[in-house]
């Protein structure tokens, strides 16, 4: 074997040296500025017309706790209803059947196209359109008795959420490679089984981050149900400040509770993401 040729002169050996730390002047400066601004805002609020003792007293008041529990119950139920509707509508939208396709597109168009608060008011006031509702010959009731604030909020929030969720789920299904569907067919699976066993589990991975987003949106959207007398946390906070006029203090109480709930939801989403990331290199066993 020939010896390696001699290396050229003029290129010193740098292997012992390390790269110096950069000063990052701008980072320090901007951090200092932000601290200053925050301190100014904090000082303004501390000296403003806020009785902080009211905040701490009402933070754990029974009515407020009941309110946040109602908020969570409504958010979870309406989201579950919305996801169920969303999956069904997404499957309809991607079906080869033109009737199902059109119905699905029409649903999304109608409920995405009108404000949520308007839909809540419509559900709540359904009695104005149909004084009695029921199944002819079997059962009937006065609509005012059936359409409680709870049911109106659940229908309004859930059906509206379904319209948005269907688009999220559809995007997830479209992200799965066509070859997966063909491979499922090739081992004899029908359309629905292939969707349930092969396509949807893979779509979930893509769908969970935007769904987490939607759920956080839902927690806050329940506050709109205060206009139809559903006793969620904002509604109850309002009732208290109508009596004692501590408006800002009670709004801060409600705000703190929303922040707490949303802070708990974020790590939960991470856990779900891991569950559905099975088989991807990142989380493979």
């Amino acid at each position: 074997m020939k010896p390696a040729p001699a290396l050229a002169e003029g290129f010193p050996d740098l292997s012992g040296m390390r790269i110096a730390r950069e000063p990052h002047w701008f980072r320090w400066l901007s951090a200092a500025l932000i601290v200053l601004v925050l301190a100014a805002i904090g000082r303004a609020f501390a000296g403003g017309q806020i009785e902080w003792s009211y905040v701490s007293r009402f933070l754990t008041a029974k009515v407020i706790i009941e309110g946040i529990v109602n908020t969570m119950v409504m958010a979870v139920l309406a989201m579950a209803f919305g996801i169920f509707l969303g999956v069904v509508v997404a499957i309809m939208r991607l079906s080869p059947n033109p009737v199902l396709k059109t119905v699905a597109a029409g649903y999304t168009w109608l409920f995405r196209g009108t404000p949520l608060i308007l839909q809540l008011l419509l559900w709540f006031n359904l009695a104005l359109v149909f004084p009695t509702i029921g199944i002819p010959g079997l059962w009937s009731a006065r609509a005012v008795d059936v359409m409680t604030p709870f049911l109106a909020a659940l229908l309004g929030l859930g059906i509206n959420q379904g319209a948005y969720t269907s688009e999220v789920v559809r995007a997830g299904m479209l992200s799965v490679d066509m070859g997966q569907y063909e491979a499922a067919q090739a081992i004899g699976m029908g359309r629905l089984r292939a969707l349930r066993r092969i396509i949807l589990p893979q779509a979930m991975r893509v769908v969970i981050p935007p769904l987490g987003n939607e759920f956080i949106g839902m927690v806050k959207a329940t506050s709109l149900a205060s206009v139809i007398q559903y006793p969620e946390v904002l509604h109850n906070a309002e009732n208290i400040y109508y009596a004692n006029s501590r408006v800002i203090e009670l709004l801060i109480v409600a705000g703190l509770w929303y922040l707490l709930v949303v802070s708990i939801l974020t790590p939960l989403q991470m856990l779900l993401e891991r569950r559905f990331a099975r088989g991807t290199l990142q989380f493979a066993r």
């Binding site: 490679d177 491979a183 499922a184 081992i187 066993r197 991975r205 559905f276 099975r278 088989g279 493979a284």
Partner: protein, 254 residues
Amino acid sequence: MTKPLVAIRSVSKNFGEFQALKSVSLDVWPGEVMCLIGASGSGKTTLLRCINQLTAIDAGGIWLDGELLGVREQGGRLYRLSEREIGRQRLKTGMVFQRFNLFPHKTALENITEGPLQVQGRKSDEVRAEAVELLRRVGLSAKADSYPAQLSGGQQQRVAIARALAMKPMLMLFDEPTSALDPELVGEVLAVMKELAKSGMTMMVVTHELGFAREVADRVVYMDQGAIVEQGRASEVLGAPREERTKAFLSAVI
């Protein structure tokens, strides 16, 4: 007298203006290993997909094991079969794809057991034992619990072959099974296919691996522009082609 396992009669398929298959007729006999060769766009993959009904034909008929595929003839008219019926017919064929198409959220073993458990509704311990045996047969006993992303391309394709075999098909269809593989991984997949051919499985293989065709195929079919140009024993078609188009293709490939 034996009957062909697959009988293809005057099958045509158009994709818009493009004629993918022009009145193709062909028999595949039980135990036969047939290699389909030709340039891309010649219709060989489409023909394979029509047999597995992933693509619906426009005209003509395909019989598998004596049964007309996809449609039912009654009183001089054809009626499309239900999705369930088509699913049942598909169980007679196993398909191996160019891009493997393993289910990424399932382990190698789960990929193999999915069909027998979910579609055929068979007993779990029996299916599992068969899947373990199939993995051994394709040389991947150690990879039962690996996810597809943890396997090399060659290993993935061997799992895909085992997945197709798990349905106990009468006919195996291979759609360019080694085209997506790095060159050093082609051999391990071809070795599994050779073993399968030796075991007596009827196989239709769309391939560019002329060495494999020469060694394993009972018959080589050369297709061009949606039609069969030439067919015969591998030594004839590959060694001494009669048609000008076959000669031109072979000299371009080798």
